[in-house]
């Protein structure tokens, strides 16, 4: 595949739209990144920064969430996700910068902003001695109104209807998590923020929550979902940002977040012969070994050609499977580790941002890598191009 040399700002169809931090980075008064096309931005942060002593937990974060987005907020432990969400809710005060919800600034117009916001931070907390229903009635009536009908509706939505009258103290972790979502939905806010809603859930619980979030997205609710699982974000979100150490690493439509892995694992009757064939086709760079499998970075069009050639050479093809899992982990680790490794926060932004790309390219040594510096001196993130 050819490297893309155009600046990504022009985004011709099919060209990388995943964007690096620098493109949206700016001062506290920078306009919200134009990522929404014609949809309004309902949630944004502007140069949002939070220091805890020496530690910079959130570092000039600029986010823009558009109406109807299911927006993934991705990062490893300690990346600053919860801190960012706390600032959006006005629970803690930014060192500098601000958030904006439906046109209202936080912390300045916190109460007005919260009228458009629902959700929870970390583990949702309720009064353990009261029933779910009573909790919702009590909390929902603070600054809003919660009719019995609506309470029943949200309890039904999260699948707690039958347990709505029992003590929350007796709830399992997953049930509390669901109740948190019910509480988030209660006043039908414009934006729902969920901080790692699937953490600590069993596979069924995770699946339920993800399905619920997808449903919310379908009916047009804007959801801001934090997670440290890339595949979770890929399942439910349409756009996402990956942060590490309080900084944006990459953002854009989820499809552009990571490269599509064109690599396939091949198992044949004669691996040595297959290796020769593949090398002839894709070069030494495109072929490697993985536990007896031949890993070939063939690209979409390359695979049929490879199989044809192998069959022609009389090699019995036993299996051709996508090597996608590996690519995913590698990618995420590469991103977060290399932005860890740079450490120096005083470095010029351009260099800092290019590093993850380079590190990732080196570690995976894939020929299909297309994350080359653009003419504008920026990096087009490896992506589906």
């Amino acid at each position: 595949m050819a490297d893309h040399k155009q600046p990504p700002a022009s985004t011709p169809p099919g060209v990388c739209r995943g964007r690096l931090a620098e493109e949206s980075a700016g001062g506290a008064d920078s306009p919200a990144p134009r990522a929404c096309d014609d949809r309004p931005v309902v949630l944004s942060t502007h140069g949002l920064t939070k220091r805890f002593g020496k530690l910079v937990a959130v570092d000039h974060l600029d986010l823009a969430v558009c109406r109807g987005d299911v927006f993934g907020f991705l990062g490893p432990n300690g990346a600053g996700k919860t801190t960012t969400i706390r600032m959006i809710f006005g629970l803690i005060f930014p060192t500098s910068g601000y958030a904006e919800v439906a046109g209202h600034r936080v912390p300045g117009e916190r109460v007005a902003a919260l009228r458009h916001l629902g959700g929870f931070v970390e583990v949702p907390a309720f009064y353990p001695n009261m029933s779910a229903r009573r909790n919702l009635r009590l909390i929902g009536s603070a600054g809003g109104d919660a009719s019995e009908g609506r309470i029943t509706e949200v309890l039904d939505t999260v699948g707690l209807l039958t347990r709505g009258d029992s003590r929350v103290g007796g709830y399992s972790h997953g049930m509390k998590q669901r109740l948190g979502i019910a509480n988030a939905l209660l006043n039908s806010p414009d934006v729902i923020i969920l901080d790692e809603p699937t953490s600590g859930l069993d596979p069924q619980g995770m699946k339920d929550v993800r399905e619920l979030v997808r449903e919310l997205g379908k009916v047009g609710t804007t959801v801001f979902l934090s997670s440290h699982l890339l595949h979770e974000i890929e399942q439910v979100c349409n756009r996402a940002v990956i942060i590490n150490r309080g900084r944006t690493v990459v953002e854009g439509p989820v499809a552009t977040l990571r490269p599509r892995d064109e690599a396939v694992k091949v198992m044949t009757g004669d691996q040595q012969k297959a290796f020769e064939t593949a090398r002839a086709l894709f070069g030494a760079q495109g072929v490697s070994w993985d536990e007896g499998y031949l890993v070939v970075r063939a690209g979409d069009e390359g695979v049929p050609e490879l199989v044809r050639r192998l069959v022609a050479d009389g090699v019995a093809v036993r299996a051709v499977v996508p090597a996608v899992e590996q690519g995913l982990e590698e990618f995420f680790l590469g991103l977060t580790q290399s932005s860890d490794a740079d450490g120096g926060r005083g470095e010029p932004a351009g260099r800092r941002a290019r590093q993850p790309c380079a590190a990732w390219a080196a570690s995976s040594s894939r020929s299909s890598f297309n994350g080359a510096p653009t003419s504008a001196g920026r990096v087009c993130w490896p992506c589906r191009c």
Partner: protein, 243 residues
């Protein structure tokens, strides 16, 4: 609380103190109307402040302890509203406690000793109606004194997320002030500490009422409460709500 009243009453009626003793205890055996006065007066030295410290500390810090503070603060409610409604809740607790003491004391005193027109500290006698009025006034004055402790506890609970720590700290501060008031060396600060006006209510039982010390007490109480609330607000409005 009702248990405490009974206890206090039991103690006071079984010990018909001669001469001095805590204010009004000696008078009880002659007139049941003094029971609520003696009870509230005795309790106002330690037990009521303790209740006030707990009542002032729990609504705010307890919420943080349970983790529900962030749930509230994620709702469109103002921080001032949250803070001052917690203060209000604390006052409500104390008022209910005091009402129980007062009404329970009056009933018990009436049953055991009977109620008669009341002899004032000045030696004159006033009617039962006027006497009850004085008792209500005394309770109000003690309530205002307790507002100081409540506000102190509220202030401490804006600094910590543990209700026990907040209540104990407020109580310790109260006790330390009370002890300092006992040393003549610290006499210079006596006029400014709310703990040194505990007995101001006795002046309501003079004829005519001796207002001067009561006015002084009210002034100190007012300044103390206003100051503590202002500081609490300044801290709470910028506080990081983590739980």
């Amino acid at each position: 609380m009702p248990l405490l009243i009974v206890l206090a009453l039991d103690l006071s009626s079984s010990k018909p103190a001669p001469g001095e003793g805590p204010p009004f205890f000696a008078a009880i055996i002659n007139n049941g109307i003094f029971v609520p006065v003696a009870a509230i007066g005795a309790l106002s030295f330690f037990l009521l402040p303790l209740v006030a410290a707990m009542a002032g500390a729990f609504p705010l810090a307890g919420e943080a302890e349970m983790g529900t503070m962030k749930t509230w603060m994620s709702r469109p409610v103002g921080r001032a509203g949250v803070l001052f409604s917690k203060w209000g809740v604390a006052i409500l607790y104390v008022v209910v406690g005091m009402a129980l003491v007062g009404i329970g004391g009056l009933l018990a005193g009436w049953l055991v000793f009977g109620i008669h027109p009341l002899a004032t500290l000045s030696g004159t006698t006033i009617g039962i109606g006027a006497g009850l009025e004085r008792i209500v006034l005394a309770n109000l004055l003690i309530l205002i004194a307790l507002l100081c402790t409540i506000s102190l506890a509220l202030f401490v609970s804006t600094l910590t997320d543990s209700s026990l720590t907040a209540a104990i700290s407020a109580m310790v501060l109260f006790v330390v002030l009370t002890i300092l008031n006992g040393f003549s060396y610290f006499d210079f600060m006596k006029p400014y500490t709310f703990t040194s006006y505990n007995l101001a209510f006795t002046n309501l039982f003079r004829e005519p009422i001796y207002w001067q010390p009561i006015r002084n007490a009210l002034l100190v109480y007012g300044v103390t409460v206003a100051g503590l609330l202002a500081v609490s607000w300044l801290i709470f409005r910028r506080k990081d709500i983590l739980t």
